[in-house]
C-alpha cells in the first residue's frame, strides 16, 4: 500500500509526509530535529503542545502533537512548555479538612476573578469542562471539581490560555489531591498496615 502524501506547514517549514503520521512524526520524517517537548507519544504526558489551524478554518486549536494526525493544508506550531506555576502549597500545611477551603483561596486567589471567558475549556485537548471545574473549586466543591479532571495530562494549555493566570489544571489537581489526602481511608489497606506493624506478616526467604 503506497500511502498518500499530504502537504503541511510545521514551525514554518513546508513538509510532505504520509497522512498516517502525527505532527511529531511528520516533522521528524522531513529530517528536522526535535527532542524538546516530546515524551510518551501516547497522549498522556502533555509535553508536545501544538497550535493547529486547518485549511479554510479561522479557528486555531490547541492540541497534543503526538495525537494530531496531519491533514492537507494544516498549519502547526509547536509551543514551548511554560515555566512551573507560581501556585505553591504543601498538603501537610492543612491541619485538617476544615482548612482546605481557606488554603485553596490562599493558594489560588485568582479563581474568584474568573471572567468566564471559556478559554480554558476551549484549549483543553482532553475535552475537560475546565471552567466548570474552576467554578466548583472556588465554591468549595472539591470532590465534584476533581472528578472533572480525571483525564487531565497537565499539559498546561488551559494555564496558557487563562488571562487571569488561574492555572486551572493545578486547581483541578489540588482538588483531587486533598480528596485523597483527607478522605481516602480504605479499611482493607489500613487493616493490613496494622497487621504489618504488629509483626504478624513476615516473609520466609529460606526455600
Amino acid at each position: 500500500m503506497s500511502e498518500k502524501l499530504v502537504n503541511v506547514t510545521i514551525n514554518g517549514k513546508k513538509i510532505s509526509a504520509p497522512a498516517s503520521l502525527s505532527a511529531v512524526q511528520a516533522f521528524w520524517h522531513a529530517g528536522y530535529t526535535r527532542v524538546e517537548g516530546i515524551g510518551c507519544m501516547e497522549g498522556v504526558c502533555g509535553s508536545c503542545r501544538v497550535m493547529v489551524r486547518r485549511v479554510n478554518k479561522k479557528e486555531v486549536r490547541m492540541q497534543l502533537g503526538c495525537q494530531t494526525f496531519i491533514e492537507e493544508g494544516m498549519q502547526i506550531i509547536f509551543l514551548a512548555f511554560p515555566a512551573p506555576t507560581h501556585h505553591a502549597y504543601q498538603l501537610s500545611d492543612m491541619k485538617n479538612s476544615w482548612d482546605v477551603h481557606s488554603q485553596f483561596h490562599k493558594t489560588f486567589p485568582e479563581t474568584i476573578d474568573c471572567r468566564v471567558c471559556g478559554g480554558c475549556t476551549q484549549s483543553c485537548p482532553k475535552d475537560i469542562e475546565v471552567q466548570r471545574g474552576v467554578e466548583l473549586a472556588a465554591k468549595g466543591k472539591f470532590r465534584e471539581a476533581g472528578e472533572l479532571f480525571i483525564e487531565c495530562v497537565m499539559c498546561n494549555l488551559c494555564m496558557t490560555a487563562c488571562p487571569e493566570h488561574i492555572a486551572p489544571n493545578h486547581v483541578g489537581l489540588f482538588c483531587r489531591r486533598v480528596m485523597a489526602y483527607f478522605h481516602l481511608r480504605p479499611a482493607n489497606l489500613i487493616t493490613r498496615l496494622e497487621e504489618l506493624r504488629q509483626g504478624e506478616m513476615d516473609v520466609r526467604t529460606d526455600n
Binding site: T33, C45, R176, R177, L184, P186, V203
Partner: protein
C-alpha cells in the same frame, strides 16, 4: 532392578513446597520467546561483566566509546549539590522527595521533562497484598515464580513488605485509587498471581501517580533541570561516583554537577527496539543509565532478558506498539487466533503468553493484514456482551486509543502482537538501591534483580516507589561532611584502553540519548 533414582536420594530431592513448572511452558518459551532467538546474544568482552551473555544490541552500546573527553569539560560550569537524581519518572521523583525531606540538597536532572517517563504511561496498577486472603508471603512467592526463581530474594522480600506502606505514602501525596462502595480499595489479579493484588486508578494508574508526584516535586525545594541528559558520570579519586556531566539541550552546552551521592533512575531500553520489536516505551527510553553505570564499573545482571508485553496494538500500523493494559485480561477478555480459537490461559505470566502468541503467528494461525502485519484477536466484544458498559468505565484509555485507530472495541476485536515493554535485568543493587560502586544508587527499571527473568504486572510501579524511597533516605543519611577532593572522567581512560585492546569499533558512541528518528546530534 529397574532403572531409576533410589528412594533415599529421591526423598532428599523432594521439596513439599516446590513450585512445579510444566514442561510445555519451558518448551514454548525456549522455542518462541524472543530472548531465545538464535544469534541474538553475544558475550561481553569489556568491563566487569566480561564473559556474561548480553543481547547483541545492548552489548554494542555497553562496549561503545564515550561521547566526551577532557577537552569538552574545559571551562564548563560546575554546580554542587548533596544528592543528584538522574531521571524524572516515578523512581527519580520518589527518591528526590525522600532525600530532600531528610535534609539533603537535591538536583533532579532529566533528559526530557519532569514526568515524561514510562511511569506516566503505566496503566494496569500497582501490587500490594491488602486483601484478607492474601499475604506478603504470597506476593513474594508469586514474584519469584513468575521470574523463574532468578530474582534476588532479599530485594523481593523488602519490596513486598514495603508494598502496603507504599500505597499509604502515595495516598498521602494525594493519589487516588478506585474504591468499592464501602471505601475499600478495589483489587484485581495480575497474570501469574495467586490472589487479587493490583490496586489501580481506572487504566490511568501511572498518570494519576505521576501528576501527583510531579506536583509534589514542583512544590519542594528540589531543583529540577529539564532537558538535561547525562552523557557521563563523574568518578572521584577513590572510585566513588561523584556527580555527572549533563548536556543542556536548551543551551547546547555541557555542564558539570558535583554530588556526594548519585541516584540513577533512568528507566529502560524500549527505544533500542531489541530484536526489531515495536515498543510501548516513551521517547527517552534508550538505556542510558546501564551504559553510564557500567563505565564506572558497576556490575550488571540479566542482560539477555527482556519483557515483551503480550498485548501491543498490531493494527492499524500507526498505533503499532501502543499498550493495551493487562487489566483488560484480568477483567476477563480473552485471546483468540485467526481460527477464532483460544490458545492460552490469558492470566499466565507475560513471557509465556507472548511466546504463545508468537507461536500462533509462526504456525500460520495469526491474522494477517496488508501482507505485512500479523497478530491475534483480543476479544473485547465478547466482554461487552457479558458485562455491557463495564469496559468503557474501567478502561477509558483503551477507548481513546481505539478512537484514534477508528476502532470500536465493543463491536470488533482488536488485533494485538507482543511489544517490547521492559528490561528485566539491570544494575545489581542491595536493599537500599546501592550499586557495587560507592555513592551510586540505582532505582527503578535501570536496576536489576527484583524481577528475575520475567516481571509480573504491578511490580514495576511498586518497585519504583519502594526502592526510590529507600535510596533517597539512604543517600541523605550518608552524606559525608566534605565532598570528594577530585572528580572527573578519568575512568574513561581505562574504558578506552580496554575497548581498543578488545578491538571494539571506536566509531560507535553511547549512551544513545535520543532515538535516531528525532535527528538529534550533539554539538
Amino acid at each position: 532392578m529397574s532403572k531409576g533414582i533410589p528412594y533415599d536420594e529421591a526423598l532428599k530431592r523432594y521439596q513439599h513446597d516446590k513450585e512445579h513448572t510444566l514442561p510445555e511452558m519451558n518448551e514454548i518459551l525456549r522455542d518462541y520467546h524472543p530472548d531465545y532467538y538464535p544469534d541474538s546474544l553475544v558475550k561481553l568482552q569489556v568491563g566487569i561483566n566480561k564473559g556474561d551473555l548480553c543481547h547483541r544490541q545492548l552489548a554494542e552500546m555497553l562496549q561503545a566509546d564515550a561521547r566526551i573527553d577532557e577537552a569538552d569539560l574545559a571551562g564548563t560550569s560546575i554546580t554542587e549539590t548533596n544528592v543528584l537524581v538522574i531521571g524524572g519518572g516515578g523512581a527519580g521523583s520518589a527518591a528526590a522527595l525522600t532525600a530532600a525531606r531528610n535534609g539533603a540538597s537535591v538536583i533532579l536532572a532529566t533528559k526530557l521533562r519532569l514526568g515524561d517517563s514510562n511511569t506516566v504511561m503505566a496503566e494496569g496498577g500497582i501490587q500490594a497484598s491488602i486483601e484478607s486472603g492474601d499475604t506478603p508471603q504470597a506476593h513474594y512467592d508469586d514474584t519469584l515464580k513468575a521470574g523463574h526463581n532468578k530474582a534476588n530474594k532479599k530485594l523481593v522480600a523488602r519490596m513486598v513488605m514495603d508494598a502496603p506502606d507504599v500505597i499509604r505514602w502515595l495516598i498521602q501525596e494525594g493519589m487516588q485509587f478506585d474504591q468499592n462502595e464501602f471505601g475499600d480499595l478495589l483489587t484485581r489479579r495480575p497474570g501469574g498471581a495467586s490472589a487479587n493484588r493490583i490496586v489501580y486508578y481506572r487504566d490511568y494508574t501511572g498518570l494519576e501517580m505521576m501528576r501527583v508526584l510531579r506536583e509534589s516535586v514542583s512544590n519542594s525545594n528540589i531543583e529540577v533541570w529539564d532537558h538535561s541528559p547525562v552523557v557521563e558520570l563523574l568518578s572521584s579519586e577513590t572510585g566513588h561516583c561523584a556527580g555527572a556531566v549533563i548536556y543542556s539541550v536548551e543551551e547546547r552546552t555541557y555542564k558539570m554537577i558535583k554530588a556526594q551521592a548519585v541516584i540513577l533512575a533512568t528507566g529502560g531500553i524500549g527505544r533500542m527496539h531489541i530484536n526489531g520489536f515495536p515498543t510501548t516505551n516513551h521517547f527517552g527510553a534508550t538505556g542510558d543509565g546501564l551504559i553510564l553505570a557500567y563505565r564506572l564499573g558497576a556490575k550488571l545482571r540479566d542482560l539477555d532478558s527482556f519483557q515483551y508485553h503480550p498485548t501491543g496494538v498490531a493494527y492499524p500500523s500507526h498505533l503499532a506498539g501502543s499498550l493495551i493494559t493487562e487489566g483488560v485480561r484480568s477483567a476477563g477478555v480473552q485471546l483468540l487466533n485467526a481460527l477464532g480459537e483460544r490458545f492460552v490461559d490469558e492470566l499466565k505470566p507475560r513471557d509465556y503468553i507472548s511466546a504463545a502468541i508468537l507461536r500462533e503467528c509462526a504456525e500460520g494461525r495469526g491474522v494477517v493484514v496488508d501482507d505485512q502485519t500479523v497478530g491475534v484477536w483480543l476479544d473485547t466484544p465478547n466482554m461487552e456482551l457479558r458485562e455491557p458498559g463495564l469496559m468503557k468505565q474501567r478502561f477509558p484509555k483503551l477507548f481513546h486509543l481505539a478512537k484514534r485507530g477508528n476502532l470500536d472495541p465493543t463491536k470488533k476485536p482488536i488485533l494485538v502482537y507482543p511489544a517490547l515493554h521492559y528490561q528485566n535485568g539491570g544494575v545489581v543493587i542491595d536493599e537500599n538501591g546501592h550499586s557495587t560502586i560507592p555513592g551510586l544508587y540505582c532505582v527503578g527499571e535501570v536496576s536489576g534483580g527484583i524481577h528475575g527473568r520475567n516481571r509480573i504486572m504491578g511490580n514495576a510501579l511498586l518497585e519504583i516507589i519502594s526502592f526510590g524511597r529507600r535510596a533517597g533516605l539512604q543517600a541523605a543519611q550518608n552524606l559525608s561532611a566534605r565532598g570528594h577532593k577530585k572528580s572527573g572522567i578519568e575512568h574513561l581512560t581505562k574504558l578506552r584502553r580496554e575497548l581498543s585492546r578488545a578491538n571494539m569499533p571506536m566509531d560507535v558512541k553511547s549512551p544513545m540519548l535520543f532515538p535516531a528518528c528525532a535527528n538529534f546530534e550533539l554539538e
